[in-house]
Amino acid sequence: MGRRKRSTPEINAGSMADIAFLLLIFFLVTTTMDVDKGLMVKLAPWTDEPPPEDNLKKEKNIFVVLINSNDQLLVEDDYFSIDQLRLAAKDFINNNGDGTCSECNGLRNPASSDNPQKAVISLQNDRGTSYQMFVKVRNEILGAYSELRNDLSERKYGRSFPTLNDEDRSVIVGVYPQFISEAEPVSVGK
């Protein structure tokens, strides 16, 4: 009896692993673990009445970036190419004209911004501007801020900005807050 029991053939489960592996590999390959990345922007709340004229803000504290429908840049009434924009924006934010920003090492040009707390970058585009150009400009402006924050972080803590803890990070952000205004587009022609 015992002998007969031992001789009953087992179901061969060896190929089971192969089948399961095949399925596993299929799911591994098809799973898209794509992380969505993007330029984070905070919009201004909607108001029915037209936005108040910024009479209070001095003109020198506003860095005007215009993009026309041919994707050309006009920055502070000068023609610009995109690779000059980051440096110009950095100089503007970091200028520290009235000397209230003790951490800044700007040029202190009296004709440019008073301090980073007052400096506003105004981005205005045409309805015909391409999205690609807009993202490039937006990227350069964000890049200017992140470079300034990184420089300050290296000077102050000896580490790069993304590696700081929350407390130190908010100190840096307090020195260089981001003020970027995206004005409603004008339609000058397509």
Binding site: F27, D36, M40, K136, G143
Partner: protein
């Protein structure tokens, strides 16, 4: 004596692989469960712009996607860039209710973190995107993200024109 000797002379039993399928099945079920097959089928052509200064959107469940681009099927939908909301093409007027509905699905404590990710094609004109932004402002969806692909180097961004 002879019985013991007989056992010793037997070959070493092979390592049992019987539990291997179980382990693999466990992994398989893990991947099957975590895989979200909820990707929408894109009705518009989408080539995202490149950038270097992006941030990761960490909470997928708090994010709503809006796709923009020229329709893949121009005979049916025309060649002008359109907006895709979930699985269908929508108009500017549909955005407010779409976004509000999406926000209602999130529990109340986390609603301030609600983010709209704009996945627009590089050839879309800013006019359409500005219209979208106005609608989002009206719907009080103020956290937005311009979805981009990473650029290999910052210089790559200047080269294209």
């Amino acid at each position: 004596m002879s019985l013991i000797r007989k056992k010793k002379s037997k070959e070493t039993p092979p390592v049992s692989t019987a539990s291997l399928p179980d382990i693999v099945f466990m992994l398989l079920f893990f991947f099957m469960v975590t895989t979200t097959m909820r990707e929408v089928t894109l009705l518009v052509r989408l080539k995202k712009p490149k950038a270097t200064e992006m941030q990761k959107l960490d909470r997928k469940d708090l994010t709503t996607y809006i796709y923009m681009g020229s329709p893949k099927n121009p005979e049916l939908y025309g060649s002008e860039p359109r907006i895709q909301l979930d699985d269908q093409l929508g108009n500017i007027g549909d955005i407010q209710s779409f976004v509000i509905l999406k926000r209602e699905e999130i529990n109340e404590a986390e609603r301030p973190k609600f983010t709209v990710s704009i996945k627009a094609d590089i050839d879309v004109k800013m006019g359409l995107i500005s219209d979208l932004k106005q609608e989002l402002r009206k719907a009080q969806a103020l956290k937005i993200s311009y979805s981009t692909n990473p650029a290999a180097s910052p210089e790559e961004l200047f080269k294209t024109y």
